[in-house]
């Protein structure tokens, strides 16, 4: 078992010294940014042109749903959100620290990316995980 929390997704990076961050892969030919490992760009088809970029920790809410029915053991309601980061990369996650009511949620509302424990979820080996969340910009 790891003493340190593990990243919930491979594109969340946890440096030995420093703050966690999200990493994208940018195509050197067409400039598209992707989450997750890849060698070929699915927009332009360029091969071996991907280089890692640190993604910004802020963006705007693009779309969302308020989820009331999920699988057993998952706390509801929560806000499932699509966020456009400031560099244009689209990312999905939970929008937290806002009442899950359409009245309180506006398209394009500015949000910060924050990093926190993955809601107490542990894997089969007992490892804990660090995840990312969105919250309204303060």
């Amino acid at each position: 078992m790891s003493n340190q929390p593990l990243p919930a997704v491979p594109y969340l990076k946890i440096p030995e010294d420093g703050s966690p961050y999200l990493e994208g892969l940018k195509c050197g030919q067409c400039g598209s940014t992707f989450l997750g490992e890849r060698n070929v760009c699915s927009k332009c088809g360029a091969r071996d042109q991907m280089s890692p970029v640190t993604l910004p920790n802020s963006g705007k809410l693009y779309s969302y749903s308020i989820v009331y029915r999920s699988f057993p053991g998952i706390d509801v309601p929560y806000i499932s959100a699509i966020v456009d980061l400031d560099d244009g990369t689209a990312i999905k996650g939970n929008l937290i620290n806002v009442e899950p009511d359409p009245e309180n949620i506006a398209f394009d509302m500015p949000v910060d990316v924050i990093f926190d424990d993955a809601l107490g979820r542990k894997d089969a080996d007992g490892n804990s995980y660090l995840s990312y969340f969105f919250q309204p910009k303060t």
Binding site: S63, S65, A90, D123
Partner: protein, 381 residues
């Protein structure tokens, strides 16, 4: 290339049949489609069989073990919710190519109950409810809210889709449900994923549908042109690259691409279409496709439902079968079931829900991931 025609087509009444096997359910529709044109399994030169839940289970061959093992070639097809339409299209393509003169396409599915999508993780920790939701009601809610952000579409307008399709289903004896659902009931039903309430989610049912497809020469030889349906266009598209692909499954661009190609292939435009069966897996999904299929501008989709233009009796009736929302959505059967629905109207055999004077109709399905299949059908005589 020869033209291809549907000569026999039918579906079973959708429902829940836990005591039957998938091949048994498929066999029912296959026999009904054969009876519809008076042909036998011995006439069929090939079988294209769509099923998702047992995609590795040789459903087509097992179905022939129920109704006649002639030794014909069998192709088993899986393509998410476009599975049935893809099987139909493979059958159509084999006739167009001159490979066969008469073939059978079958779509069949046996569903469990409950939420689809957003399954658990094989390694690490489950991501559902941690990194948003992968459940189908949430994914299609997010797609609907994208329409809302661009065009101001409201919760009430989305709910009206469900009111309309449930009303249509009261006229369709083959629908799973025939129950009116007033607007207040739809909006006040259990919220599953805002803005989709329980009555705005399609029904998981078991079902099957089948079609017999012939070359023009064979239709004439068999004397079946009277009730034949000409396939004016058959198009399949995958999702072209979009900037939010990795986080928002795209049902729009593949529909727009397939629609454009289908109208070109048919030599028709959206103004020529008399009725549409489209993929209303959730109420939010239906509204997206009015604009995607070109029957109105994207920004007018909400008005289309407000003004009743897409209801039976309106300018362009959509989902008069009751749609996936009330007829039910057996994934692999849906794509052929909507071809049955449109064909039935073109034959003027749809009874109380008949779209008057229907000559040309369009069917549309989306398999998330994504696959879009569109067929344009025309009464032959």
């Amino acid at each position: 290339m020869t033209d291809a025609y549907i000569v026999g087509v039918d579906m079973i009444k959708f429902g829940r049949f836990p005591d039957k096997t998938v091949p048994q359910i498929g066999a029912q529709a296959a026999l009904m489609a054969l009876d519809d044109c008076g042909l036998s399994i011995q006439h069929m030169q090939a079988l294209y069989c769509g099923n998702l839940g047992q995609a590795s289970g040789m459903v087509g061959q097992r179905m022939l073990q129920e109704i006649g093992q002639t030794g014909m070639p069998v192709v088993n097809v899986a393509n998410a919710c476009a599975t049935g339409a893809t099987a139909f299209r493979e059958a159509w393509a084999s006739v167009k190519a001159g490979l066969y003169d008469v073939v059978l396409a079958v779509g069949v599915e046996q569903m469990g109950k409950g939420l689809l999508g957003g399954g658990g993780a094989k390694t690490g920790i489950p991501k559902e409810g941690l990194l948003g939701s992968g459940t189908m009601p949430a994914v299609f809610a997010e797609a609907g809210m994208e329409h809302a952000r661009h065009y101001g579409t409201t919760f009430e307008q989305f709910a009206k889709v469900s009111v309309k399709n449930h009303h249509h289903s009261t006229l369709n004896p083959k629908a799973m449900y025939q129950i009116e659902t007033p607007l207040e009931e739809v909006m006040n039903a259990e919220m599953i994923s805002y803005p989709n309430t329980k009555l705005m989610c399609s029904v998981n049912v078991d079902g099957s549908a089948a079609a017999v497809i012939c070359s023009e020469k064979k239709v004439r030889e068999l004397g079946l042109m009277d009730r034949a349906i000409k396939v004016r266009a058959s198009v399949l598209a995958s999702d072209p690259w979009q900037e939010r692909d990795l986080v928002m499954p795209d049902v729009n661009s593949c529909t727009q691409k397939a629609a454009k190609e289908a109208y070109e292939m048919a030599g028709l435009g959206p103004e020529d279409i008399d009725l549409i069966e489209l993929h209303d897996c959730f109420a939010t999904a239906e509204i997206l496709h009015y604009g995607n299929l070109g029957i109105c501008k994207q920004e007018d989709a909400g008005r289309m439902i407000d003004d009743g233009e897409v209801a039976l009796g309106g300018r362009i009736p959509v989902n008069v079968s009751g749609g996936l929302l009330s007829k039910g959505h057996p994934l692999g059967a849906t794509g052929i079931a909507n071809i049955y629905e449109v064909s039935t109207h073109l034959r003027n055999e749809a009874g109380a829900r008949q779209v008057d004077g229907a000559k040309i109709g369009l069917t549309h399905v989306i398999g998330l991931g994504s696959a879009c299949a569109i067929h344009v059908l025309e009464r032959a005589s």
